[in-house]
């Protein structure tokens, strides 16, 4: 009896400790962003913002070019994710469903491409973009981000495509669908959760990307939000309130998207695993 009680308590207690450990940094970011300066710089931490203020958010948003950078970040991220999903879907379908010479080598290529250390190739990329006269443009950024997220998108999507029972496709074709129709009517709807889950990874990568835009787009008008956030930190020094407000603004879109897509992501992964 005592043992089963203990057996019930310890997982919950551990979960509670873990909850605090994982949630606290995020909580502390928002908490600091809403606190007046007097409560931020205090010898004993103020755990709850008792007199919340929006001052720090105003400071953050009033930084120069803020809305231009928001637009740049959204444009680059959405386009890169969109392109890579479309391109990856074709490739994933071929890799999951068809047998052809060189398939293994291509899978291997994407596996290797996935681990490309983009951060150390910035010099070469700078030279290429400079010679193409495309510095301070969003076009090369979009294209490089597309390729940055492409390999993992293909590999993940391949799993989702493979998880759709082959019989479904075959019976659709027996019933007179062409391969394309079978794909559009039968496979694509089943793939939707997988596409959403996969897009998450792309959104995070592109939204976060820092070294490339740092080197390629020196012009204030052509930058993206990660640069703004990192500069914010140095420009405002120890203004932790404004820095945390800026970090919150940067994190909120991804956090919301993630919370929204997460259930689908895990559901998709589960169904992907069922195929086992």
């Amino acid at each position: 009896m005592r043992r089963s009680l203990l057996g019930r308590i310890w997982p919950n207690a551990t979960a509670l400790v873990l909850f605090v450990g994982f949630a606290f940094p995020v909580y502390w970011m928002f908490n600091t962003a809403f606190k007046p300066n007097g409560q931020i710089i205090s010898e004993t931490p103020v755990w709850f913002p008792t007199s919340p203020t929006l001052d720090h958010f105003e400071t953050a948003v009033e930084a120069e070019n803020f809305w231009t950078l928001v637009r740049n970040s959204v444009t680059v991220t959405v386009l890169a994710v969109g392109f890579s999903l479309v391109v990856a879907l074709f490739a994933a379908f071929a890799l999951a469903r068809m047998r052809f010479r060189g398939r293994k080598g291509i899978v291997l290529t994407f596996m290797v491409a996935q681990m490309a250390p983009w951060e150390v190739m910035v010099i070469a990329i700078y030279m290429i973009v400079r010679d193409a006269d495309m510095l301070n443009s969003l076009v090369p950024l979009t294209l490089f981000y597309t390729v940055m997220v492409l390999p993992l998108t293909i590999i993940t999507l391949r799993g989702y495509v493979a998880a759709v029972p082959k019989d479904l496709e075959e019976s659709a074709m027996v019933d007179g669908c062409t391969r394309l129709q079978a794909f559009r009517r039968v496979i694509f709807p089943l793939l939707a959760p997988g596409l959403m889950a996969t897009s998450l990874f792309g959104f995070i990568t592109a939204w976060n990307e820092f070294p490339l835009v740092l080197i390629l787009n020196k012009d204030d008008q052509a930058q993206t939000l990660p640069l703004w956030l990192s500069k914010f930190q140095t420009a405002f020094g120890d203004d932790w309130g404004a820095t945390m407000a800026a970090a919150s603004l940067f994190a909120i879109p991804i956090l919301l998207l993630f919370l929204y897509l997460q259930r689908k992501a895990v559901a998709g992964l589960t169904s992907g695993a069922v195929k086992g």
Binding site: F22, A23, I40, A91, A94, V107, L108, M115, V120
Partner: protein
């Protein structure tokens, strides 16, 4: 604009459509179609990868054989200097120290992430629905936190003055920690970086591992219990075999992510103090871009890529074997 036109595949698509239109016998046309279809579907992905990843890689390789500093960069001059960048780098004691440091850093973090992630994943499977939701939300928050935002928050948490971590430690009785400078020594800086990496990476392992456990049929556990298996034995014989493929993939991904983690390491303390927390990608960046020795930086990055490939060789072999197995399985189905 030249960059853009290169990735456009339509020109190559036409000849493939041709056989169907030209072929007098429909059956023959379809067969030809079938043979080229997978390549057509793969063409855009391969072309994009070749242009935007392959070409920079080749350029990077070529730069590594050049004497390229600020002067040459501005004047657009190409000065070949053979293997000088490589011999300089490889005979530099610093390079080997950084390499060893990167390998240890990766190994420690990956082990911690996989072990902690697995334990939390198994815990999620044991929890009641409400507690599970609570913990999942916290995990997802940590997972989704953008890197630059996360590094900023960690710098604030570990700030010397008014940082909440120092305050808590002092309250717990470690008086000397009240004004501790976390970025002052190599070990403490690495501790903060590792904590940040573990915090952001564990949720991926935990949540996906939990998702994998939900696919294990309950009957298997019942059968194991009937056969007299204890908790440990049913874990070893039922749970673990199911999770093994996932754990293998997760370990592979984590090794890549940790080894080439750049913003985490760079943003916390820019490789300091005294360049003691530089890992290979940071080292390449600091030497190349920071020191304006672009050729040397390129050579270091080529060496980094080679080390990464060596680390991955084992995994890639597993992948290839898996692909072979899939192919024979498919053959069996079709026969």
């Amino acid at each position: 604009m030249s960059v853009q036109t290169r990735e456009a595949p339509p020109r190559k698509r036409r000849p493939a459509a041709a056989p169907r239109a030209a072929g007098p016998q429909p059956g023959e046309g379809r067969r030809a179609d079938k043979a080229t279809l997978p390549y057509l579907l793969l063409l855009p992905a391969l072309a994009l990868t070749a242009v935007f990843l392959g070409y920079p890689l080749v350029t990077n390789g070529m730069l590594s054989f050049q004497n390229l500093n600020m002067t040459q960069l501005i004047q657009h001059v190409t000065e070949w200097n053979g293997f000088a960048n490589y011999t300089d780098t490889l005979s530099n004691e610093e390079f080997w120290r950084v390499t060893l440091r990167s390998v240890i850093f990766t190994a420690v973090n990956v082990v911690v992430i996989i072990v902690v992630g697995t334990l939390i994943g198994l815990l999620l499977a044991r929890l009641g629905p409400r507690m599970r939701l609570l913990l999942s939300v916290a995990l997802v928050l940590a997972w989704a936190m953008p890197i630059i935002a996360a590094t900023t928050v960690y710098q604030w948490l570990f700030a010397q003055r008014f940082g909440v971590v120092n305050w808590v430690l002092a309250e717990l009785g470690f008086e000397s920690m009240a004004d501790y400078n976390w970025t002052g020594t190599q070990l403490s800086t690495f501790f903060v970086i590792s904590l940040l990496l573990v915090w952001t990476s564990v949720p991926f392992v935990a949540i996906n591992l939990y998702a994998a456990t939900t696919t294990i049929a309950k009957e298997l556990y019942e059968a194991a219990a009937l056969d007299g298996a204890g908790a440990w034995q049913s874990f070893k014989c039922v749970t673990l075999p199911f999770l093994k493929p996932f754990l293998l993939v997760a370990t592979f991904l984590e090794i890549i992510w940790i080894f080439k983690a750049f913003p985490h390491v760079f943003a916390i303390n820019e490789g300091g103090p005294n360049r003691l927390t530089e890992t290979l990608p940071v080292y390449a960046f600091v030497e190349g871009v920071g020191g304006q020795h672009y050729g040397t930086g390129a050579a270091i990055s080529v060496l980094t890529i080679l080390i990464l490939l060596a680390l991955m060789a084992y995994y890639l072999r597993i992948v290839l074997r898996q692909e072979d197995a899939d192919e024979t399985e498919n053959d069996g189905e079709m026969a």
